[in-house]
């Protein structure tokens, strides 16, 4: 039987499959269930300092072919009220990675510190939300700011730090280099996009613009994983459009140490984690490797 265990960002995972931030991860009971049903780890919804309702509905557009557009708008209860959810999630005895967003290095540092106190196994810096002003992508496209945030967080916490980057930039590689102190780089967040309803003659999302995710963005994610791994050699976690075992292997061959799954969880249900684990073991046999981690970087 194939060994599915991997090391990613210095964390040992029982399989390479992590729940991506923003999908089924604002309620502690849901995270607990996703872990119990087969995810190796979960990343929480991105949490900020203060409570935010996010945007009005519609906040998602269900697109054809396994794609999705969303502008949830970083709704979250605020860090103070999130400890309880993490506590519930931790009952599954698997790593919970706390995702955070802020508007200054200090704020990221504070949020990360709270996540560490809550028992998070690592902290993921959302430097890439494409549809909220004053955070996310706005900070994440400036390499100096990114470096300042990563360093501030590294100084504040002892748990691994993951930097989640955006594909909506001209200079991804430069930004990746500015994360040299991070334990891993997570790519990609969603690609900025929009959907229009021709009967209503209106953009569908209440925020007009949102982020594209799902099957189609896999090819963009693969490119970033490959390019960043090849050029920087940093640990990279792949995310974007993964919905089956082949996709996972493609990302691992491109250099990812583990992957995150978002949109496909909505599409195929929480059972996708155990289903992919099962298929991954068979696929590894077909590819004649004993350990899934042997495939890491095979296409580099």
């Amino acid at each position: 039987m194939t060994d599915l265990a991997v090391m990613a960002a210095g964390i040992k995972l029982e399989n390479p499959l992590i729940l991506a931030s923003g999908i089924l991860d604002e309620n502690g009971y849901t995270m607990r269930r996703v872990l119990q049903e087969g995810a190796a780890a979960v990343v929480t919804k991105s949490i900020g300092t203060a409570e935010r309702p996010g945007y009005k509905t519609p906040v998602v557009v269900d697109l054809p072919d396994g794609n999705l557009l969303n502008a949830v708008g970083l709704s979250n209860p605020g860090i103070k009220d999130f400890g309880g959810e993490i506590r519930i999630a931790l009952e599954a005895n698997k790593p919970v990675i706390g995702s955070i967003f802020g508007s200054s290095p200090e704020e990221y540092g504070e949020l990360a510190h709270s996540m560490q106190l809550y028992g998070a196994a690592a902290v993921e810096l959302n430097l890439s939300c494409p549809h909220v002003n004053g955070t996310g992508l706005e900070m994440g496209s400036d390499p100096e700011m990114v470096e300042a945030i990563v360093n501030a967080v590294k100084n504040r916490v002892s748990i691994p730090v993951l930097a989640k980057l955006s594909p909506n930039v001209s200079n991804m590689l430069e930004i990746a280099y500015s994360c040299s102190k991070a334990n891993s780089i997570v790519v990609i967040n969603t690609i900025k996009g929009m959907a229009i309803d021709i009967n209503a003659r209106k953009p569908v999302l209440s925020n007009y613009y949102g982020g594209l995710s799902g099957k189609a963005v896999k090819y963009v994610g693969l490119r970033y994983v490959y390019e960043i791994k090849k050029e920087t050699g940093f640990d990279v976690i792949g995310v974007g459009g993964i919905s089956n075992a082949e996709d996972v292997v493609e990302y691992m061959m491109a250099g990812a140490s583990a992957v995150q799954i978002g949109t496909a969880v909505g599409r195929y249900g929480r059972g996708i984690f155990s289903a992919i684990s099962h298929d991954l073991a068979l696929l590894a046999e077909r590819l004649k490797v004993d350990r899934i981690s042997d495939l890491k970087g095979a296409a580099l």
């Binding site: 089924l24 849901t30 409570e51 309702p53 509905t57 998602v60 209860p77 021709i198 909505g266 249900g269």
Partner: protein, 248 residues
């Protein structure tokens, strides 16, 4: 095209604050399933279908801006809907009881047949809706203030309801569901409950509708009495639109 644009054929006031809107939608829908109804510029909210024939209806209570916008859609104008979503009530040929409070009656309406009893509750007379769906003498009404039917709540009505039924269907505010659940749990009667939560996506992505790790929009909104028995959040707490946990 994300939503189907369906034309409102007619609408009917059910009470001063509740209105039924009818439209043609060529789509099979099961009792208990819901659609997301979008009013451009205002918002999108989940709505059960209150009749499921070729002409379908939704029965909407005027609550906040999204529901008010739906209610004000005049015949000839369009509703923008997507779905149907969610699981559904298990139909049965036997004798059944539906227990509905407020707009909760909407999702129960398609279940009502000759063999169905009803307990309908509301705060006061004007909020009692859809009694006409039942056969004469098969529906019991309760109001908090006694302005119509029996003065009291659902549980008190349930206590005096003595017919043996094969299945009980329940929909309404969670407080009421929880009370009914507690009353029924050791009585060995089959029962299904349709729950409500904030629902942002309707497609199992956003977690806003979850209860004990189940997504109301996919795994629900209908849960059996046994499923509810194992839930720690049922009747206890839920997340707000922002994701903050509040007590019920």
């Amino acid at each position: 095209m994300s939503h189907s644009a369906v034309e409102v054929l007619w609408s009917r006031n059910e009470s001063p604050t509740v209105k039924t809107l009818a439209f043609k939608w060529d789509q099979e829908v099961l009792p208990g399933q819901f659609v997301m109804v979008w009013t451009p510029g205002i918002g999108e909210i989940p709505m059960s279908l209150s009749s499921l024939g070729e002409i379908k209806t939704i029965t909407v209570k005027d609550f906040g801006p999204p529901s008010a916008a739906i209610i004000s859609t005049n015949p000839g104008n369009k509703l923008y809907i997507r779905g149907p979503y969610g699981n559904h009530f298990t139909r049965t040929d036997g004798k059944k009881l539906v227990i509905g409070a407020g707009s909760g009656m909407a999702s129960l309406a398609p279940l009502v047949d000759k063999n169905t009893y009803g307990i309908i509750s509301a705060r006061e007379k004007s909020e009692i809706i859809l009694t006409g769906n039942f056969d004469q003498g098969k529906v019991m009404v309760t109001t908090d203030d006694g302005s119509m039917g029996f003065k009291g709540n659902t549980i008190e009505a349930l206590k005096v309801f003595d017919a043996k039924v094969d299945m009980i269907y329940v929909c309404g505010p969670e407080k009421m569901l929880f009370a009914v659940y507690n009353y029924l749990k050791d009585r060995g009667i089959r029962a299904e409950f349709s729950l409500e939560r904030s629902m942002k996506c309707g497609i199992g992505i956003c977690d806003s509708c979850s209860i004990d790790g189940f997504q109301l929009c996919r795994d629900g909104p209908v849960f059996s009495i046994d499923q509810l028995g194992s839930m720690k959040e049922f009747g206890v707490s839920r997340l707000t639109y922002s994701g903050k946990r509040i007590q019920m």
